[in-house]
């Protein structure tokens, strides 16, 4: 590791030291460090990228996403993400943010759904995918607002209960359901803290911190990616993108996390 030269070393290290010593005094070192990483994390750079993509006329139909209805009427973004997943009459389905983006990008802009799905999850250290930037932008328009997933339509009730069932469903050679790792407080896998999802605080963390910047990947990641990665770890097959399985789990967890204050981009290791 090369030594830093010039005034920077003194300034930056003084800043870091000052912040670190006051923070360490307050509590658990790992959580303090993570909080510092979360504030002003590079994920914010994707918000402007997402906004530009949202407003730009794109696709075979040469249209922007300004007429996309995220549940509060076409083009209304404030407070939309905090109510997802929810039922949409035009597709007769409960959709989460990413499946709703797929719907709008295909219907309004004419993109091919299979192509969008293929490109939805970007490679680490890349510019990121369109969907990652768009999902972050749309969610950021609800920053500061409370998560508010409500159940009204029968399909919303169905998805919630199915998601709960799936959370506890054990399968594969690991005998893992989500609850095996996310059902107790103060647990970790190696040094990675496990969110206690069966508690109110844990569910709220799930509902309010995605999309998030994944430090190790240098890009923004979404809930669809996170579920795919968990399923991988459980030694199950490749989870397809935007399935009812994933939307059901998201409905359950987000509703359990109601009243959390949305704050994206989150920061994950």
């Amino acid at each position: 590791m090369k030594k830093l030269r010039g005034i920077t070393m003194g300034l930056v290290s003084a800043l870091c030291l000052a912040m670190a010593t006051s923070a360490m005094a307050q509590g658990n070192d790992l959580s303090v460090g993570r909080k510092m990483l979360m504030e002003d994390n590079p994920g914010e750079l994707w918000i402007d990228q997402g906004k530009a993509l949202f407003l730009q006329k794109r696709g075979p139909k040469n249209a922007s996403l300004e007429q996309c209805d995220f549940g509060m009427g076409p083009g209304k973004l404030e407070g939309a993400a905090v109510r997802l997943p929810r039922y949409f009459a035009d597709t007769n389905r409960v959709e989460d943010l990413e499946s709703r983006l797929l719907t709008c990008m295909t219907q309004l802009q004419g993109f091919d759904r299979a192509q969008l799905i293929k490109q939805a999850i970007s490679a680490p250290a890349s510019r990121g995918s369109d969907i990652e930037a768009l999902a972050l932008y749309v969610t950021s328009r609800s920053n500061g607002m409370k998560v508010n997933v409500s159940l009204g339509h029968q399909k919303e009730y169905d998805m919630y209960k199915a998601g709960e069932y799936l959370f506890y469903r054990r399968s594969g050679q690991t005998d893992f359901g989500c609850v095996q790792c996310h059902g107790e407080p103060d647990k970790r896998i190696r040094l990675q803290d496990l969110v206690h999802m069966t508690s109110k605080a844990g569910a709220q963390e799930v509902a309010a911190t995605w999309p998030a910047y994944r430090g190790a990947h240098y890009v923004v990641r979404t809930m669809q990616w996170r579920l795919n990665d968990c399923v991988w770890q459980m030694r199950l097959p490749d989870l397809k993108y935007a399935t009812d399985y994933s939307i059901a789990l998201t409905t359950y967890l987000n509703r359990q996390g109601n009243d959390a204050v949305m704050q994206v981009p989150g920061f994950k290791r």
């Binding site: 010039g6 920077t8 402007d48």
Partner: protein, 105 residues
């Protein structure tokens, strides 16, 4: 090629709390991919000016992470003062962005 920075400068008393996110790959020159080693590419110099006066002149190396964050506090700032940030990388690429100091919460 150089992409916009995200700069926030909020006034806390008589000090501007400046937070800068820069978009840059910051390649160390040792990372290997399927196609070979990615060449070294990093920000070498960062200059922060307050109303035209240099307040920070930094020389960086490839030890700094991708999409770097820089935070600093500038004393003697007032609302509306100009904070200008310029970075230059080892390929000669440059980026300048500026903001006005705004009210803190």
């Amino acid at each position: 090629m150089a992409e916009p920075m995200k700069i926030r400068a909020t006034l806390q008393g008589d000090t501007a709390d400046v937070r800068i996110l820069m978009r840059h790959p910051m390649e160390t020159g040792t990372r290997k991919t399927a196609t070979g080693v990615v060449p070294v590419h990093f920000i070498q110099s960062v200059i922060v000016e307050h109303n035209g006066k240099t307040v920070l002149d930094a020389q960086w190396s490839q030890a700094i992470s991708r999409d770097p964050f820089l935070g600093l506090r500038v004393k003697g700032a007032k609302l509306g003062d100009k904070i200008s940030v310029t970075w230059t990388d080892n390929k000669g690429d440059k980026r300048n962005d500026e903001v006005a100091v705004s009210a803190g919460s």
